[in-house]
């Protein structure tokens, strides 16, 4: 089964695309809601539970990754590219874990109720301090923009490899099964 080893496992691909969709949606909702008067409430009410879902998914995904065998890097990647890819993956995991935690933490520090649905709400994870809230609120914006930049770099690298180097990089993570890579 040497061909199979070239593609990420089914569960890894499923989690990858589920998170890609939710995270991009979250970035869009985030920047749109803070500039909107009319849609602010509707959007922030989606933003909180969807952000917590991402936090849960990233933990599942990370554990899943630890217990999975990863396909080797394609031969077309130089050692420098490999190390860049490796560290950018670490950065993406870290951002996807820290960003929702900061969202939860900042609302905790301000003692907002952290409402998910109806009467379901989360407990606070930080002590009450509005100064802490203000710092985390800034960090939440900064990390979101960093996350967007990391996504652009990731997306650009995949496009470059798939379309220019033509090493079928995309097929490794394709949502469907690719037999011969």
């Amino acid at each position: 089964m040497t061909t199979d080893r070239q593609q990420f496992t089914g569960s890894m691909r499923f989690l990858h695309w589920l998170m890609a969709a939710t995270v991009l949606t979250m970035l869009g909702i985030g920047v749109a809601m803070v500039t909107s008067l009319g849609e602010y409430h509707r959007l922030v009410s989606i933003h909180r539970p969807l952000g917590i879902l991402i936090l849960i998914l990233v933990v599942i995904r990370f554990v899943n990754r630890l217990f999975s065998t990863l396909p080797p890097f394609p031969a077309t990647m130089s050692p420098r590219e490999r190390s860049a890819a490796h560290w950018s993956e670490i950065l993406l995991y870290a951002l996807l874990f820290v960003e929702p935690l900061v969202g939860w933490g900042m609302l905790s520090a301000a003692r907002y109720p952290i409402v998910l649905f109806g009467s379901l709400h989360l407990f606070p994870i930080l002590p009450h301090s509005v100064m802490l809230y203000a710092a985390l609120r800034r960090a939440h914006t900064l990390l979101a923009y960093l996350l967007f930049l990391a996504f652009i770099a990731h997306f650009g690298a995949i496009l470059f490899h798939t379309l220019i180097v033509r090493d079928r990089m995309f097929s490794r993570m394709a949502p469907w099964r690719v037999r011969a890579l």
Binding site: H41, P72, A75, V130, A134, L163, I164
Partner: protein, 374 residues
């Protein structure tokens, strides 16, 4: 972290074979350009969503900037209703609200409340004026950990139908550089553009303010949806009606003292607990829920759902209420926003005001801890 398998490939042969696929020449340029376009389009979409291409759209940031430009910027204070004093007490629910809303707060029982009385305006050291808008922000802490926050004022109608009208009014009321007075022509133009404000101001004028905070009626003004256990909802506006008897201004005589309204409030709360009844007014089909400038017709069913008691008072400097954002959309399950455009706008703008003041050093309040101990 790096899994072993990723280091495995002994790929010298594979590498030469795959490298031949690398595009060159013209088609390489075309594809590179295509990639560039796609990346720019994604970045453009992100910036578009973030409002980067709509520099004139009214946003929470621009609204609060305008408050600061016209009123000044006071470190650590609210950008509106800046002057205030904090209170505590409880709400005794009589259970009559449960037929309209499943919210836990309406079950029979007592719920702790923390609040803040305030005067409208962005200057935290302004002298008290009888004509200034009186505000009351409240936070009910429900037994299941939910919260209900509300910010009410003593006006029977709100002068602005939407955030744009409020914004235009702030712009029009900016004092002229030379005369230090608002330009009457600008205000007249604003009123001509906003006939609903003129109508609301007439209603407001017909309700003379009472002598103090303690005998003021506080109006929620915005409509909400009260949702019962079956999921059916009723349009509701709420009001706090004082148990303290109405006293007209002048009966006690307006003092010239800078803090006379707050001082009187402190004195009366230190003497005896203050009480209000929470009255729900039920809207009927056709009553506007999206326009706080229009009161509902007389004779709508009213339900007294319980009484609010405020029995202690504190300076902002020592009370946690200073650091609360009385966001009108912090609601328990069983109360939902209506289609009133003010509600989401208030939530967004209060959040922006709160975020700014949260990160600033907190200057002393006009009402100090020693004022409250007198």
């Amino acid at each position: 972290m790096e899994s072993k398998s990723r280091q495995l490939p002994s790929d010298s042969t594979a590498s030469t074979k795959k490298q031949t696929a690398l595009l060159a020449g013209r088609s390489r340029m075309v594809r590179l350009a295509g990639i560039g376009v796609v990346i720019l389009a994604v970045i453009g979409a992100f910036l578009y969503l973030g409002g980067w291409f709509s520099p004139h759209k009214l946003t929470p940031v621009r609204f609060v900037d305008e408050f600061e430009r016209v009123n000044g910027r006071y470190s650590g204070f609210r950008r509106n209703h800046a002057k205030g004093v904090c209170v505590r007490g409880f709400f005794d629910s009589n259970g009559r609200g449960t037929r309209l809303s499943k919210a836990v707060v309406f079950r029979i029982g007592r719920v702790p409340v923390i609040g803040r009385f305030s005067l409208g305006g962005g200057d935290p050291h302004a002298s008290d004026e009888l004509s200034a808008v009186r505000g009351l922000g409240l936070q009910f802490s429900l037994s299941d950990g939910e919260q209900w926050r509300t910010a009410m004022i003593n006006l029977p109608a709100f002068p602005f139908k939407d955030p744009q009208a409020f914004y235009d009014n702030v712009v029009a009321s900016e004092p002229d550089r030379n005369t230090h007075q608002p330009d009457p022509a600008k205000m007249a133009a604003f009123l001509a553009n906003n006939p609903e404000t003129v109508r609301a101001l007439e209603i407001i004028k017909s309700h003379a303010p009472s002598s103090g905070f303690d005998n003021s009626t506080f109006y929620g003004l915005n409509a909400f949806r009260f949702v019962d256990a079956q999921g059916t909802w009723t349009p509701v506006r709420w009001t706090l009606v004082p148990v303290q008897p109405y006293e007209a201004v002048g009966a006690t005589g307006a003092s010239q003292d800078k803090n006379f309204l707050f001082d009187a409030l402190i004195a009366s709360i230190l003497q005896h607990p203050l009480q209000w009844h929470l009255i729900l007014t039920l809207g009927q089909l056709g009553d506007p829920t999206n326009d706080a400038t229009v009161p509902w017709p007389e004779g709508r069913e009213q339900v007294d759902v319980g009484s609010l008691t405020l029995d202690s008072v504190e300076s902002e400097e020592t009370s946690p209420a200073r650091d609360i954002n009385f966001d009108p959309l912090v609601l328990p399950a069983g109360i939902s926003p209506s289609d009133d455009p003010l509600l989401s706008a208030r939530s967004a703008i209060y959040s922006q005001s709160f975020t700014r003041r949260a990160g600033e050093t907190k200057e002393p309040s006009a009402i100090t801890p020693s004022d409250v101990r007198k």
